[in-house]
Assembly symmetry: C2
Homo-oligomer: 283 residues x 2
Amino acid sequence: MRNLAGRPDLCSINTATLGYQTSISETIEAIARHGFGGLSPWRREVEAGDIKVIARQIRDAGLKVASYCRSTFIPATTQVQFRANVEGNKRAIRDAATLGAPCFVMVVGGLAEGSKDLTQARDQVVQATAELLATGREVGVRISLEPLHPVYAADRSCLNTTAQVLDICDRLEPKSGDAPWLGVCLDVYHIWWDPDLDRQITRAGRRIHCFHVCDWRLPSRDPLNDRAMMGDGVIDIPAIRGVVERAGYVGFVEVEIFSALDWWRRPVDEILTVCKERFASAC
Amino acid sequence: MRNLAGRPDLCSINTATLGYQTSISETIEAIARHGFGGLSPWRREVEAGDIKVIARQIRDAGLKVASYCRSTFIPATTQVQFRANVEGNKRAIRDAATLGAPCFVMVVGGLAEGSKDLTQARDQVVQATAELLATGREVGVRISLEPLHPVYAADRSCLNTTAQVLDICDRLEPKSGDAPWLGVCLDVYHIWWDPDLDRQITRAGRRIHCFHVCDWRLPSRDPLNDRAMMGDGVIDIPAIRGVVERAGYVGFVEVEIFSALDWWRRPVDEILTVCKERFASAC
């Protein structure tokens, strides 16, 4: 297991952590100034600007793009809407390639509007992922399915466990070899509760594309935007990272904190300072 | 699959649904007056009175006790506290027998105070359950482990999936035959999101001791006390009930709605009237 002390270069900052207080240009500059190794920008930041210019600024700052966040929700009640969702994601995957992102993070969406059919939503996700995987291979971007906490099953993601995502990976890419194009984005916030977690992480092996950290605040005031800074909650982050790294993962440890009630109200430099401290001491 | 229309006798009312607005005596009378077949009282109601008197009133009202709610949380940081938790549950199981309850519902607790060790919490639950199962057999009360939604893993239950509970059942009672003393309490609110649900319900078979209904409100304003009336949320309740009944379940369908923001503010008669309607039309 890697020693993270004094190694912020192993840390990627997901830009959502900073609450979109600054322009993407200022965000890149701040993340580099604090010594981090990478970042994961969001489409709202990238699509609003010139992608090639943003990609160059990231490279010039000495940063790597860890991943590109995130997919348009997939489940739909009409074929027209479903196709629009898939095509929107194809465009985003091409943008990910332009940006130099090694992978595209898929938060797939929950139930389609007005639907109670989770099975149908999940079937649509599998169908769309097969198509997006082909696009990813064409342009050199890996597709990373993110299982989200079951609390989001209705409205944000019908993929809710690591096992479920790996079953889809095995089905769509049965012979993946050493460098699977389809894989999983593991976020401790979403998976820490899972009684089958260690076994599934080990099973994931090289399919682990990303590893995200934050913490589960107790009590949680809002399951969506009340995540805690690493060390301020109840998740045993080093234990989970140990399993992830024993499974072969050597990529960034990425900080992603949605915190409307706390961290997003603080200055960017303060957030990054504390992220760096806690990355070293609590992950 | 049973037709529930005109059959409120197949419905049990979990008294928490009524928000503890009335005494247990008035609650029993109201549930019987509306034609329901059973009820599940809570310890806060039963322990405050004379259990034999309450049991007689329930019988005289023509009602059955569906189950007795619920266990003291088990995980503890000291052996003294752990023993106290186990002994508290033994007393409650004996009370369940006095009450005439066929089963005791176990909501087992999350992490012990100040702990981040989910595995240890789960180990303590297995150890305690083995002991409580023996008490249950002695006094004729089945032990029903309730998997709670993963959103409660930290603070209310470290049992979070049906598979996890069934693994414990198989371990502690490997030869259960036709009438297992250890089983599962299935609540659609906790399990509806599970990608492995149908398979695990089928696996559960005669271990299904209870089946609870309510609905998942969208958006949820509070994961704990913002449950919806059946039909007002996104859970496909009839689909889940179909799987439960094909697995052999023939017991009560129990209504359990925690709703501080809505139903608990309404009069008991209104709550019960709507429960009866929705039991017939939305379950």
